[in-house]
Symmetry: D2
Subunit: 397 residues, 4 copies
């Protein structure tokens, strides 16, 4: 048992951390001002940061074949990237592009990779992933109503998707669409994943959805309808009916990334809390000397460290035993980490007083990010149910 990061991981983490601290955090205010003026345009400073990150070799690190990093080695990088809302894109490591790139890398045909993976890895275009639907409980995948039906050498897509993250990004060019192909097939072979250029006729962005009042510009979460959308049959990834298989592979590392980014966000919230606690004075004392503030800081320290270890362990199990063996662990982090992160961020907001509710600090936006992950990628309760099922199976005859 060795809790030290590999030399390679530690070196990357230090470099990414320094970049986030020295290059990204100082320009956050400028970034937000630019977005406030023009919400759906990527502020120009992002392109500069991307170029600089790429130059320093801090680019596409999520992809093992590029960086040589395992999931557990990439995890600390995701953590430091999670500190800032713009950091992931700067390193070309933001969801859902990371998951989409992995899918294309693993399952894409040569043509699909040439057309979509290359510019994605280049950071020239962005992509989206259409899975969740507004009218059904999407956590139960058998509810999926959207269809992807072959018709000659085309596949025809119909349905409405929502919470399609990144759809508002001006560079968003392609969607991976998940739809029902064959309801008569075995349960996990009914769905297909299809690549759909965003400008395909019949694809319509109905609206961008607020999440706790925020639109998360310039990425956004879209509601998008597909009305008899026709794309060539070779837009199907890996073949009809393989959607679930691909989704399963995609979700494990994706959840590790999400959770580690949240750990980083919580860590930043704790830093801000400590800074505030030691500098703000009320009733003649620094806040750190008032009431239960120290206990709250201690509890946040513990909660973050526990959560980080849980994610690292899950990543390690994913790396060493594969996604099937790590199902419980992956669900565990999806339950534990968002819960921890909202609690820590909420504590930090409270310690900042009314200012914590404004956007003068990154805390209010961070709260939304963390809270959304109680639902995104499967609600807490669905993951609890899976964990319990796997646990109870040990006791059944």
């Amino acid at each position: 048992m060795d809790f030290a990061h590999s030399a390679r991981a530690a070196d990357y983490r230090d470099r990414v951390a320094a970049f986030v601290r020295d290059e990204i955090e100082p320009v956050e205010a400028e970034y937000h001002r630019a977005l406030a003026a023009d919400p759906w345009v990527v502020p120009p400073l992002v392109a500069d940061l991307k170029a600089k990150a790429r130059e320093q070799g801090l680019w596409n690190l999520f992809l093992s074949s590029v960086s040589g990093l395992s999931t557990v080695e990439y995890a600390p990088l995701a953590e430091v990237m999670g500190r800032s809302p713009l950091a992931p894109e700067v390193f070309n490591c933001n969801a859902p592009d990371t998951g989409n790139m992995e899918v294309l890398h693993l399952y894409g045909s040569r043509a699909q990779r040439d057309r979509w993976l290359v510019p994605l890895l280049d950071g020239r275009i962005r992509s989206a992933f259409c899975m969740t639907e507004p009218n059904v409980a999407s956590s139960d995948a058998t509810n999926m109503a959207a269809t992807a039906v072959p018709d000659g050498d085309e596949v025809v897509l119909n349905g409405t998707k929502w919470f399609t993250t990144g759809l508002g990004h001006p560079n968003c060019s392609v969607i991976i669409f998940m739809g029902l192909t064959d309801p008569a097939a075995p349960r996990h072979a009914q769905h297909s994943m299809v690549l759909v250029p965003l400008d395909t006729p019949g694809v319509k962005i109905e609206r961008m959805l607020p999440v706790l009042g925020r639109h998360d510009e310039p990425y956004g979460h879209g509601e998008v309808s597909f009305a008899d959308v026709r794309v060539p049959l070779d837009s199907v990834i890996a073949g009809l009916g393989r959607g679930f298989e691909i989704a399963q592979d995609r979700l494990g590392p994706g959840r590790v990334h999400h959770c580690m980014r949240l750990v980083g966000l919580a860590e930043r919230a704790l830093e801000l809390a400590c800074t505030r606690a030691t500098s703000r004075v009320a009733f003649g004392k620094p806040l750190s000397d008032l009431g239960g503030n120290r206990e709250r800081i201690a509890n946040a320290r513990i909660a973050i460290d526990q959560a980080r270890l849980l994610v690292l362990h899950a990543a390690w199990k994913l790396d060493t035993l594969g996604p099937a063996a790590a199902r419980s662990e992956i669900s565990q982090i999806k339950v534990a980490v968002p819960t921890m992160a909202t609690a820590v961020i909420d504590m930090s907001i409270q310690l900042h007083g009314a200012a914590g509710l404004t956007d003068d600090y990154p805390l209010a936006a961070a709260y939304t990010t963390a809270r959304a992950l109680h639902l995104a990628d499967g609600p807490t309760e669905v993951h609890q149910s899976l964990i319990a099922r796997l646990e109870l199976q040990k006791y059944r005859p």
Copy 2:
């Protein structure tokens, strides 16, 4: 001990509840659409609703001298008004105007009442209250840095205030400003309250503040600076140095109103949760039959009922024994009710899945309302501190 409302209170409550249900809730979507298009304009339907409410005698009910209702009798009315963000204004019962009207009613000179109270009671103008400051811990009132200094027959105001609620309302015409007049006076006689027309030279709205990403249009929370603002000396309410005395009177009923509105908001969130739980199906069952949802609903029922009783009891004590005797009780509700409300609303959001995060339901906005009250009107921790002090005093020799 009798938990039945008085006949008069019950009658008013039933009429207000019917009005909210039949006239207000059905037009909420239209109201929000109008605001989305034009955020700082009061949608025209509000004027119609105000006229209708006034016609039915459901107007200014918060003011005992108008309605004949005690605080405990008014409380159930505040509860049903709390269900909808536009309801309080419709009944001319929204904060901070209610508190300001009470202040003018109790302490205003004849001229002050003629100029400001009459149009406020009429619903023709709106007002704001400037107490909290950005640069100091305002929960410790001795920190207050803004000044209100007499100079001949004028009083000169300087300083910066923020979280000035209602400042964005197009009809907002007057501010009650609280400032330091005499630092050498006894601790509770140092501050003054001054009436300031919003268009007085030197008054500048610096910005409208987002609260968890929302601006709460058309009311808003403003940051406003006062630079050598001069108003006639007779703009001071009740005389120089009486600011704290007035504030104390103002806060008790105000907190009861805030808390009862939150109880109503939580009750609505529970209703939505139950509706969702009985209608939405996942994994072949209504959500009400899945996992811990019923326990959560039961716990919400209990939490709301406990909170309501606590507020009613505090109101009753305020009515029968006065604000000094009810200090602990008032602080107790300021701790308990916002905590309860955020938990219940959060539970309801979660039960609604991703939709609960959007503005398709009133839950996301309700969350912000409830969360802000962990800080507004004194942070939870400051009230806990007061409750503990009063409790421990019983044990000191």
Copy 3:
């Protein structure tokens, strides 16, 4: 809405409170020493206290026909009696005798009342109530396996019961036994309640059960078997098949009493916490000035007051609208109050340091009392389920 107790209730409460404070609490240590030496013998001081309480008219106050007190009027008396483990018996108001006396009062035949109710009201004998069974989930009453089958002019009892409270008391003379009479009858007419003298052949106390390591002497909780126990048919209360009906009547007030006693116990735990916090010094300060102790005291104050109000409201509803209308409220208090009481007592234990774990303070025993009520009289989860069912029914077509 009037939160003042009736003059009669307030007078009784003051007198009972003074008695508990002046006569009972000072002899608690002596009482426990006597029990430590001789666990299943009632220490002689109890008889003296009983005589004195009776002399002062503080006797059988739980019984409305004796005291003229409604449930909501009796509630504050139960609260002060709950402060001390010996107080309820001193006032002849301890469970399960109160419930049993109510049953006999309401449903007993003249002969049954003469034989059992008179000495019970006199405090000469004690009784027990046999409902819960070890081998089935007794919260689901349809599981009940014990039988009460008529055979000529006798009724024959078989089965095993446990958690039969008071069975170890030396004066325990009679059991009310609940058993299945007719499985073919409608669901709520299958069971009977039967009076069984403890010395009836076939009745065997198998063992006294520890509850979190305590035996709660001299009352105790027994496991008792019935092997072909025969009693005359006129030992059946109110007639065969009426067991559930009687049980329903018995449980509502019983739960109010239990919960109010727990409120009193929690109040005492908070008093001890405050005393400790203001007198014990660590790191140069009284505990009240360290860390989150004041917040914990404030939260306990709030939690107790909320719980008390919830119980009083449930009692009032029981009084004014009857047990059927108050079902949700009664279940709510069974969920909320034990949860509150364990939390408050646990907090007080923690504030007492290691001493809080010993029996030098009444806290450790109080914890067991409160924790047991998460299960006794129906586990929390069963009550939550009932509350949710009643809540959700409002939303079903």
Copy 4:
């Protein structure tokens, strides 16, 4: 980063786990029956088990110089030993003997080791550790009132200690006593540790203390007075004034052991909960299909796994960077693990219904064990305070 145990640790863990499962758990009931009859006598089966464990090389494994195991390697062994109250002694790995043996091993003179360490390692005698005092807040070590004053070639001990664990064991022969030697010395050089044979004149066991109503026989927690107790000066360990230094070294690994044993106890409680949930039926379903039981099981799984990882990480840091660097981590586990363990055990009790409160399951006793550790070895709040101090130090200029 590698979460796999070393081959040696894994092998030992498997063997200890098999021994606990096959040899110890099956005789627990017999062990408790024997103790119930004769509480302060070690049931004879323990000697047999000790012999068998020693024969298999599963003996004194806590001591690195014996087993070659680092703290992080020993941790999983402590976990499985924690499952059963008698297991630690069977492997000669129970507190406080482990800590005392470590102290003697590291700091004892040759004579001290010959006289006390040899028979302790042999399992022939037991020992106790006297630190906590009844009359002062012992979490603040500067409060310590007991004295160890040199007088010629003797050292004279005075004072009263309590919560001296193991004092009731029939083989307990020696105490390590901590007392104030020189109040004028620097803060961490004022106290001494002294070896005191239990039968030294002036040593008096005042009473055995109940902890939540239990005496934890045959070990027990004693209150013991020292009245002019004289022992030779060479009974002082490592020299006068070195008590704190030794205590610091002793506490780190001791806390890891305590916490890992609690993790094992919680794991057993979860196993029992799962067994119960899948076998017990109520309302026509196994408990696992009722209400929030699955969520509770999932949450317990997560909580245990997080806690285990936190302890393992702390152990690893202790091993690799030493006790000073691991201070926060050690305090973190002392906060997190007892809190987790009481919650998991309480959940399991609740799932067992009333039976969970009895001693028919090991849960009720386990609850006491876990709850006591919120206070033993420093109360939660003191550890939180240390964690916060270390955290905030990072932000101070």
